[in-house]
């Protein structure tokens, strides 16, 4: 039986959190994601969740640390500048191997920026943000349906790997209203044993200590090796991407999130014009679908990366393509959302340049 609703992205995400068995939410208001806190303050509390408006994002992420340490499913959400404040906490959470969900409904930056959507937190999300050798598992939704779906996936993945999971959305996805069908999900069927949690030490076990402090370098190296092995496993098993018309594509567009929706429109328009375009949409930004892009780089003539930033994910695309074919960029910054025909224009330019180069060669 489906549960079909028309909802705002932020609210769909919040509703999914309740249904996924999230027991604690600790957050701070910031545009464009305050609806998550507000929805949970009303609905979540009503349905048995601890929902606490903390004094800052710094306090929020540390509450997530404490709550996750007790073995409960906990989460927070914020937007770009608030996520910056959380970086220390995220490093600690990753190091202490605590499962949790963090949501970034990105806005334009840098600095206080704008409240309009952007994708300029890619580096922050995927390349670190916080100090040390760690990674967040990053999921990038591109519809309100995925805003909901990925919450269930995120909690399951977080518990499976004892790792923080980030849902990287943007202000447009957070504010837009679309149909969402909530999956059938019984949290009781998704309980993972957490013998490491601090719940009060019974006589039957040694005390549990949640910490990320390991002063002896030999010990710290072991911890790091364990984390790296974990990320290797995650990369092996959890990499996700979506293929759209890539089978016979001559020109590949790579885009995620909102940019991918726009790029899809551009790809369809291109096809109508006779250009064999395709789109690869990374769904996990970490682990990145490097292998899928590398394979496609053998069959396409050029890659266009479309992002709402100054060019961040393009670096990972270039690493995957390894110079086989040209990689071009189209992007808008400052919270401006590109229109499909802008992307089509960039695609057309790439095709023209490619054709011209080949004519020169003869």
């Amino acid at each position: 039986m489906s549960d079909l609703r028309l909802m705002k992205g932020n609210e769909a995400l919040a509703e999914a959190a309740i249904r996924a068995g999230c027991k604690g939410y600790f957050g701070y208001p910031i545009t464009p994601q305050s609806e998550i806190l507000e929805y949970l303050a009303a609905e979540g509390r009503e349905r048995g969740m601890v929902v606490l408006q903390a004094e800052s994002e710094v306090a929020s992420i540390n509450m997530v640390y404490g709550g996750a340490g007790t073995g409960a499913r906990v989460m927070t959400s914020s937007s770009s500048p608030g996520i910056s404040l959380m970086q220390e906490g995220l490093s600690y959470i990753a190091a202490a191997e605590l499962p949790c969900l963090v949501v970034n409904v990105s806005r334009g930056g840098p600095g206080l920026g704008t409240i309009q959507p952007s994708q300029s937190d890619y580096f922050q999300s995927v390349k670190g943000g916080g100090h040390g050798d760690y990674h967040l598992l990053v999921l990038a939704p591109s519809s309100v349906q995925e805003m909901a779906d990925f919450v269930f996936d995120a909690f399951d993945l977080a518990d499976k790997y004892r790792t923080p999971v980030l849902i990287l959305a943007d202000g447009a996805l957070g504010q837009m209203m679309e149909k969402v069908d909530f999956r059938k999900y019984n949290p009781a069927d998704h309980v993972v044993a957490k013998p490491w949690a601090t719940t009060g030490k019974p006589k039957t076990r040694e005390r549990n200590v949640i910490t990320s402090l390991h002063i002896e370098p030999e010990m710290m190296e072991q911890i790091n090796l364990r984390l790296q092995e974990k990320y290797r496993l995650i990369a092996e098993n959890e990499t996700r991407c979506e293929h759209f018309h890539t089978k016979d594509a001559e020109y590949l567009v790579v885009a995620y999130g909102l940019a991918a929706r726009i790029a899809k429109g551009a790809v369809e328009m291109a096809r109508a014009q006779g250009i064999r375009a395709g789109l690869l949409r990374p769904v996990t930004l970490y682990p990145y679908p490097t292998a899928a892009i590398r394979r496609l780089a053998e069959t396409v003539r050029g890659v266009l990366v479309v992002e709402m930033n100054a060019g961040q994910m393009i670096e990972d695309v270039r690493l995957a393509v390894e110079g086989r074919v040209p990689v071009k960029f189209y992007g808008r910054m400052g919270g401006i959302i590109p229109a499909p025909d802008e992307v089509l224009g960039a695609l057309g330019k790439m095709v023209k340049e490619d054709v011209a180069q080949h004519e020169e060669a003869y």
Binding site: A59, N62, Y65, G66, T199, K201, R207, V209
Partner: protein
């Protein structure tokens, strides 16, 4: 750990005091004479006496006592610098039936953690906040703390703390006592047997209040730092009485009616 005792237990004598079972066997890393050791011991004695070892979760700070979890045989979490009370808030909110305490130094609680400290107290979280105030940053080598006295020489106030550069010593405990969410506030020391006994009573009371869901219990322990103050333990306790007590007088600051 094998204990080498200096004189055997003569029969006819009963043991009237021994170290609490909830202290682990690990040798404390604190400097000789440091008050941390006494507070750890008294806290664990209280946990022992109340029989709540299985229901207590502690949050350790950054500071000399960052390794507190090595010495207390209870579930514990290490917090980022300043964030212990936020971590403790979440632990208590998720596990409201357990006893939760945070253990923090003056930098952790009154500098980097000021916002978390105030808001945890303002929300009246049902936890015990133990504040060890020795007016200096011990772990990082003796820098000035918010609670350092005027004129006090530290590595970052080598000519002595001045108001122009660094403002006044922060009386955070008195500030917190003003908040309605804070139920019990007292200030102690551990330099005499009597003071230690008072501290233990305060801790026992605080756990009882926690059980009764009365709000935040805040206990400050004015303590010494022989290394940071560059004195022997005995000298440091004398200096503490002469110099710290006038500004931070031990006593009951806020008691329930």
């Amino acid at each position: 750990m094998e204990r080498q005792m200096t004189s055997p237990d003569p029969s006819g004598f009963e043991c009237v005091y021994e170290r609490p079972g909830t202290l682990t066997d690990k040798r404390l890393h604190y400097c000789p004479g440091c008050g941390h050791g006494v507070v750890h011991r008294v806290l664990m004695e209280a946990v022992d006496e109340l029989g709540i070892q299985e229901e207590t979760i502690g949050v350790a700070p950054v500071g000399c006592s960052v390794f507190a979890y090595n010495y207390m045989n209870i579930d514990m979490q290490e917090a980022a610098h300043g964030r212990a009370s936020a971590v403790a808030t979440a632990v208590k909110r998720m596990l409201p039936g357990k006893y939760v305490f945070s253990y923090q130094g003056d930098g952790d609680l009154a500098a980097i953690g000021t916002a978390e400290t105030i808001h945890t107290a303002n929300r009246g979280e049902n936890i015990l906040v133990l504040f060890i105030n020795n007016a200096i940053y011990g772990m990082t080598g003796g820098q000035m703390a918010p609670t350092s006295l005027l004129g006090m020489k530290t590595t970052t106030s080598p000519a002595g703390r001045t108001v122009e550069t660094s403002g006044f010593p922060l009386k955070i405990t008195e500030m917190l006592a003003m908040l309605p969410g804070v139920y019990y506030v007292s200030r102690h020391s551990v330099h005499t047997p009597g003071a230690v006994r008072h501290l233990k009573k305060a801790i026992l009371k605080s756990f009882q209040y926690q059980k009764e869901k009365r709000g935040t219990c805040f206990i400050e322990v004015v303590s010494n730092c022989p290394s940071g103050w560059k004195m022997t333990p005995l000298e440091s306790n004398r200096w503490m009485v002469e110099n710290m007590f006038p500004l931070y007088p031990p006593g009951e600051i806020k008691v329930p009616k």
